[in-house]
Every structure is written in C-alpha cells, then in structure tokens.
C-alpha cells in the first residue's frame, strides 16, 4: 500500500473486520429478492415481443385468461398512462412516458423482448405457460441496429414523434436524440504545433453488466390503496419515486423494501418489473412475484452501449499533448439517454489538453434502452483515447507511464468540459504504478509454444458521486449501537459505513449493527451507485455518530449534575474537563440512559458534494497464441487513488472486480445481433464472461490522497477500475504482436485476422 499523505491514526478505519452480513451469506440464509415467500403469493410472467421493431395490431388474451391457475392478465391498456414529462430520480432524468412505455408497450414494440402483456398464476410454471398463450398480431417494421444505420438519411425512425436536439436546436424525424459539444482552446492551432498527430476510429458492441442474480420484484397492492414492493434494486427510494408517477399514486402510499441484491453495477438502478407486479397484484388481489429469466435479463434490461468513437490527438516533440478531438457516437437503445454525456466528460479527463473538442451523440436504435454500467460511458471513451495515447508514445519514443505522468491532470487544471480540478491523486497513482514491482520487472517476450507476450498500460477517470444519504444510530443499553441506513449493500458497505460510525463512537466495528431498511424506516437515501455509498452514507453515519456523542455528553452532564460543555470524549471515555475523577465509558453511560432522560437515537443526513474523482491506471501482460489469436492475461496490476480505504479488502475487491469486468469487455463479451435485431447469444454459455480459469491474481495498489470533502478522506472507488482495462489490453496486444485492434471485443478471430493482415497473408 502506498500512503501519500500522512494519515491520522485510526482504530477501526483501515482494518479488515468480517462484514456484518457475511455469516448469512456463507450459510445460505441471506434473503435475496427471489427468495421471498409471502402468504397467498402468486407468480407473474411476461409476454415479450419477438421483434425488435413492430407495430402491435391486436392482442388476444382470452386463451391465457382461461388457462389453469391464471388469476390476472394485463396488457399495456391496463397500465396507467404516464405524463410525457421529465422527472429526476436521484440524478438521473427520466421521461415518464418513455419509462412507462419501456415496461409495457402500447402501440409499438421498439426492442426485442419488449413486454406486451403479463400474467399472474398460482405458480411460476403456470404463469409462464399462460404468458405463451397470449396472441399478439404484429406489423413488423425494419429495425435500426447501429449508430451508422440510425444516422443514415431515410433511416426508419425508432420513435416517429420524437424531437431530438442538435447543439440546442430542436430537430424532427431523426434518431439522433441529442448532439452536444465541449470545446476549449483552438484545436487547429494545437494540431499545428504538434510533431505527431494520430487519428483513429474505434467500434464497440453492446455489453451487459452480467450480474448473476436476475431482476425480480414482488408487489402487493393492498385494499387500502397502499402498495408494498420487495425488490432487488440499487436504490429503494429511486424505485419509489419511479413507480409512483407511473402508477399515478402518491409516493407516500408506496413502501419499498430492498432485499439482498445479487449484483447490479448500475443495471439495477432502473425499474423493469415493479409496476407490472403491482398492477397484476391489484387485479389478482394477492402479492405477485416475478423473477426474470436470463434471456430476458440480456434482451430487455439495460446494457451499456456500443457505438463508434473517433479520436485525433497531437503532441509536440517534448511530449506535451497539444490538441485533441473526440467524437462519441453512443447507442442509447430504444429510448434516449445513453451515457455519452459522462463519456464526453471522462474522455480527456486524465490529461492536460489546452485545445480540445469533444462531441457527443445520443443515438436511438432498436435495442434495449441502455442503463448505467460501472463508470457509464467512460470505458468506451478510454479504450479509444488510451489506444491513441499509446500510439503517440511509440511515435515519440516515450515510456507510456512517463508520457501519462508528464501530461497528467492535477489540482488546478481545467478539464475539457470546463471545471477545474480540486485536489486529485492522478499523479500519485500513476507514480505508484510506475514504482510497482510489476512495472519494474521486464517482461519475457516469449511464452511457451511460440506464444508472444506484450505489456500495456492505460489510465482512467471516474467521478465521485455525492448525493443524499441519511443514517440513524440507536444506542442500546449494552453499549452497542444499531445503525439504520437506506443504502443497499451490494458489496460490503454495511461494514464500510458501520466502521466510520465505530471510529467516531470509539466502538469496535462488530459493536455497530447495521441494518438496511425500507423507505418508511429511514430518511431519503439515493441509490448505491455513482461510487457514492461509502463516501456519502459513510459521511451521514459520521454525522449521526457525532450527534450520538453530543447526546451522550448531555447524559454524562446529567449524571454529574454539570453541563455538556464540561464533558469531553476520547477513546471511548467521557470525562469531565474540571474534575479528573469523573469518567464514564460509552458502555457504562449507555446502561444509564434510562435514568438520564431515556432512549438515545440520533440521525445524520447529508447532501454530499460530488468532487475530485478517482483516477486509476492499469498494467497488463498478455500472452497471445499467434496460431489462434487467443489472448491470455498473465499478469495484472491496478493502482488507484481511493482517498482513504475504510476496509482495504473490499477496496481491493472493487479494483479486482472492475478490472475483471474490463478484461471480459476487452476480450470476449459482446451482444451478437442478427440482422433483425435479435440477440443471438443470450446465455452465459455464449455471452462469455471471465471465469476463474481465465485470470491471474490481480494486484491492487491502494493509493491514498485524501478527499478534502470527506471527514476521513474517502473517495469513490467502485467505478474507476473498469475504465482503464479495455485500453490497457488493447495496448498490450499491440505490444505483443504489433497490431492495433480498433474493434472491441478483441476476440481470437479479430486478433488472428489482424496478425494475418500484418504478415501480408490476409484472412
């Protein structure tokens, strides 16, 4: 571990206690969404469109209604008509009409797997069988499947009535939902100063978050009009604020209980099933559960976009980047809202570029509406930019980390989209990677059986989400505390939040008992996402703990018949400033709450600032079989500025997991489309995610440059590690076999074809 700035001495923070929810998860007792069983509960199943683009002519539900065990059948006509307005859920902007239409089509299906009807029946098999009996007559339309097709003149329109925007001007009859630009300096002048200019175009395909737990939801529409929802979500409050306007009921009438979540990576921020379950429940008068199958998860949830990216970058002979231009064409899916906005902000975030232009295009295609996927939009852009940076390093004969260090953004630099950086740790983490044993150890260029090796590096940036969190701490008479939070625990945040409270309270981590509760039982808390949870909910826990200490000081003062100003707290002991004889431990005082005024509970709430951000650079060695084009990752090291690692094991885990998803994206993962917009590899057999066998150990180097806006210096950790890997792998492949792959994934047939082309005996 590299410690950059002298840390404070902590007792709990920086240790590695066993997570509070761990036991239930290793004995099979943790309750995930699909595990829920309620009295009278029945099962739902959806009927989905077999076409990517078609008009619904007629739906006949009569056979389904007569099928055994069926208790409710609904179509789009049973869903309330949502207003065509934009609402904010967390910091996402959602067009309600789109959000509703995405859940259940009315007139037109716009992606394969688009729900058109749903059934509730006594058990899951009966529901699935009945859903198959629903007859739908379609008028099949030509689908729009790539950004190039979508932008071609005369292309079919995904939405005939949609008004797009082109640099602020309203446009009609277009699939380009938005086109925007960031610009700084004068790129023409910058390129004129360059000794080297590299221009490349890159292409990516859609990839999925690939969480192992399919989406699920259970809803009960009660006779008093209130709705209970149990679901696997990254944000229970986001579910509530999304469901309420779609069902046209007040938020207050909805209670959402987040059950354990089996992975999300951004894909479980949007809702897919909850309103459908609720409407089925209203009709059937019973709780209705739906668990998606894997095929539907692939076809009809929210992957991250493919698209096309053009990068042009110039540098002078001293190694200064003089100008850069980036054009990002991202698939939005069937409704507007790809992560191209974030991609545009991240594209050049690692570098000082005085003259830059970034254009972003959000493009409608007949594919599932994209959703957030870990640093959404940034990985695609980094793949392109980091590949071009690599070429510039080679042209200039510069070490790739020296070039990145030379041009690295630091405090006071202006990002291409405008804002000036506060204290960031870009330089420090790059230096840590350069100092790593891995980088200092030269690579053996040949492996066994003529396999060729190469080494690549890349850098990556993602923001620190701030947003809103609330925590309540209840002091128990035995001196331990309950910690009530609204942040869904997707990877150890009960521990990282409880540890921050424990640090303040002078307790051990195990003496703080975190519980994630429903939307009626804790103050508003935004979703677990945006790398915000340990930062913002941790900050709320810190504030709640401070308020507990303030309350406990008052109780000590009552005990000693003095006043709270006279009481100080250190190392778990309250003492009087004036009488050294008067001391009471936290535990002793907790036992005296009844006689000093009654129960003590305190809350902390915050709207945390998003600032700074996290930088992480990755180093990868690959070995390539020149006969087959197969690429193996043989060594991997990732460095990242995390601000302050509260629980280092889970920080390392985030870095290792993000790197692995990136490696899958780089080498194998892709949506394979038919010419009619049908995904042809919608199983984990054919959608090839990395297995244990595909990977080496992944070294995570934790760099700590404290975030000035957090009491313990925490920065967001979870998303940054997926940004660099695709570019790093591309650069390693180039180093190994001398070919520049501009299409991801860099699967064997592409690598092989590129090697053959280079050797002059084309495929």
């Amino acid at each position: 571990m590299t410690i950059i700035e002298q840390p404070k001495e902590y007792k709990v923070i920086g240790t590695r206690p066993i997570r509070h929810d761990g036991l239930d998860k290793v004995i099979g007792k943790a309750q995930y969404g699909a595990d829920l069983k309620l009295p009278g509960m029945i099962w739902g199943a959806l009927t989905r469109s077999p076409y990517a683009h078609a008009r619904i002519k007629r739906i006949d539900t009569s056979k389904a209604e007569q099928a055994p065990g069926v208790m409710a059948v609904i179509t789009g006509a049973d869903m309330p008509v949502a207003e065509a307005i934009e609402i904010e859920t967390g910091e996402e902007v959602t067009n309600l009409a789109h959000a509703s239409d995405k859940l259940m089509a009315r007139d037109k299906v716009v992606y394969k797997g688009h729900p058109v009807a749903a059934v509730a029946a006594a058990d899951q098999n009966a529901a699935i069988e009945a859903a198959r009996l629903i007859e739908v007559e379609y008028e099949v339309l030509q689908p729009v499947l790539t950004v190039d097709e979508a932008m071609a003149s005369g292309a079919p329109l995904v939405h005939e009535d949609y008004a797009g925007k082109d640099l602020g001007e309203e446009t009609r009859n277009t699939n380009v939902a938005d086109h925007f630009r960031h610009e700084t300096g004068d790129t023409a002048a910058g390129f004129a100063q360059a000794a080297v200019v590299v221009e490349r175009e890159f292409e990516l395909t859609m990839v999925h978050q690939g969480y192992i737990e399919p989406h699920n939801a259970t809803a009960l529409w009660k006779s008093d009009g209130k709705i209970e929802i149990w679901t696997s979500t990254q944000g229970a409050f986001g579910v509530r604020s999304s469901v309420a306007p779609i069902l046209r009921v007040p938020e207050t009438d909805i209670r959402v209980t987040p059950l354990e979540i089996g992975g999300g990576f951004g894909g479980k921020i949007p809702i897919y099933l909850e309103p459908v379950c609720a409407v089925l429940s209203k009709k059937a008068g019973r709780p209705v559960k739906v668990v998606m199958d894997r095929k539907s998860v692939f076809e009809a949830t929210g992957p991250t976009p493919g698209g096309r990216i053009r990068v042009k970058m110039g540098a002078n002979d001293k190694g200064d980047i003089t100008a850069a231009e980036v054009d990002l064409y991202y698939e939005a899916g069937a409704y507007p809202g790809s992560p191209v906005g974030a991609g545009a902000m991240c594209a050049l975030a690692c570098y000082r570029v005085a003259n830059a232009r970034v254009d972003g295009y959000d493009i409608l295609v007949n594919k599932p509406k994209t959703a957030a996927y870990r640093a959404p939009g940034a990985t695609q852009a980094a793949y392109a930019v980091e590949s071009v940076v690599d070429e510039i390093c080679q042209a200039l004969g510069m070490d790739p980390l020296d070039f990145r260090l030379h041009n690295a953004t630091r405090e006071g630099d202006r990002r291409a989209d405008g804002p000036v950086y506060p204290r960031i740790g870009n330089l420090e983490q790059l230096q840590a990677l350069k100092d790593s044993e891995h980088y200092r150890t030269p690579l053996e260029r040949e492996g066994a059986d003529g396999r060729l090796r190469g080494r690549g590096v890349a850098n990556g940036f993602w923001f620190n989400g701030g947003m809103q969190s609330c925590v309540t701490i209840n002091v128990n008479s035995d001196g331990e505390v309950g910690l009530v939070e609204g942040s869904v625990d997707i990877g150890g945040t009960r521990a990282s939040i409880a540890m921050q409270a424990a640090e303040v309270l002078g307790l051990r981590a195990e003496e703080v008992h975190p519980v994630v509760v429903d939307t009626d039982s804790v103050g508003y808390t935004d979703m677990t996402g945006g790398s915000r949870t340990t930062n913002a909910t941790g900050y709320a826990a810190y504030l709640a703990a401070q308020n507990v200490i303030a309350g406990m000081k008052e109780r000590a003062a009552i005990l000693w018949e003095s006043n709270a100003d006279d009481v100080e707290f250190e190392d778990g002991v309250f003492s009087s400033k004036h009488d050294s004889e008067l001391k009471v431990t936290f535990k002793e005082l907790a036992a005296k709450l009844t006689e000093t005024g009654g129960p003590l509970a305190a809350s902390g709430s915050i709207r945390q600032r998003g600032s700074g951000g996290g930088f992480g650079s990755h180093l990868v060695d690959v070995e390539i079989d020149p006969e087959t084009g197969k690429v193996d990752v043989i060594r991997y090291t990732a460095a990242q500025d995390v601000g302050k690692a509260i629980h280092p094991s889970y920080v390392e885990g985030q870095i290792q997991g993000g790197a692995t998803q990136g490696i899958g994206w780089a080498l194998n993962e892709e949506y394979f489309w038919s010419d009619q917009g049908v995904m042809e590899n919608s199983t984990f057999l054919d959608y090839r995610m990395p297995t244990a066998l595909d990977l080496p150990m992944i070294d995570a180097i934790i760099v700590e440059v404290p975030n000035p806006t957090h009491p313990f210096g925490v920065r967001g950790v979870g998303e940054t590690p997926i940004v660099a890997p695709v570019g790093a792998v591309a650069n390693a492949i180039h180093d190994a076999v001398g070919v520049r792959l501009t299409q991801a994934p860099m699967k064997p047939q592409r690598v092989l074809a590129a090697i053959k082309e280079k050797n002059g005996n084309g495929a």
């Binding site: 610009e183 978050q209 906005g341 957030a372 989400g465 701030g466 998003g610 600032s611």
Partner: protein
C-alpha cells in the same frame, strides 16, 4: 466577478458569448444578471425555482448541492453540465 460559462448549445441565446462575467453573491443573483443581458437563455437553465432537470450547475469544480442558492465567490466559475450519477 463570478464567471458563467455558457454551454455551446446555449450560445445562440447569448450572441455567441462563451463566458459572461456577472455580479452576484449567489447563483440566482448571477443568473438574474445574465438574464438582463440575455433573457432567452434563462429558460435553458432554470425551470421554476430550480436548475432544469437534466442540467447540473457546477461551481468551482463541484456540482452544487444548493442549486440556485449556491454561494458564489468573486472568482467563482460556474459551468452547466449534465448531471452525473453513475453505476
């Protein structure tokens, strides 16, 4: 004076101006000053009593948590960007 950076897609409402220096101790004051010079741009930035959905005001590198009430310093920079949430 605080500087408001006008996004490219709004510059047709500011006569092409890329940045506008305005007086103002809060973002609301600064935007009111901006509106006196370029009234049409306000609809792009403000909806009712708040920043428009889909837009984030970034003051001195940080997405504001106070919205129109965000305090500005004499040397503050304000950018109007897309809100970031992430996965």
């Amino acid at each position: 004076m605080p500087t408001l950076f006008i996004p490219i897609h709004m510059r047709r409402f500011t006569g092409g101006a890329e940045r506008v220096e305005v007086e103002g101790a809060t973002l609301r004051h600064a935007l009111n000053q901006l509106a006196e010079r370029h009234p049409a741009v306000m609809d792009e930035i403000v909806q009712g009593d708040r920043i428009r959905p889909g837009l984030a005001a970034v003051v001195d590198g940080e997405q504001t948590v106070e919205g129109l009430r965000a305090p500005l310093k004499p040397a503050s920079e304000v950018h109007f960007l897309r809100p970031i949430s992430g996965g």
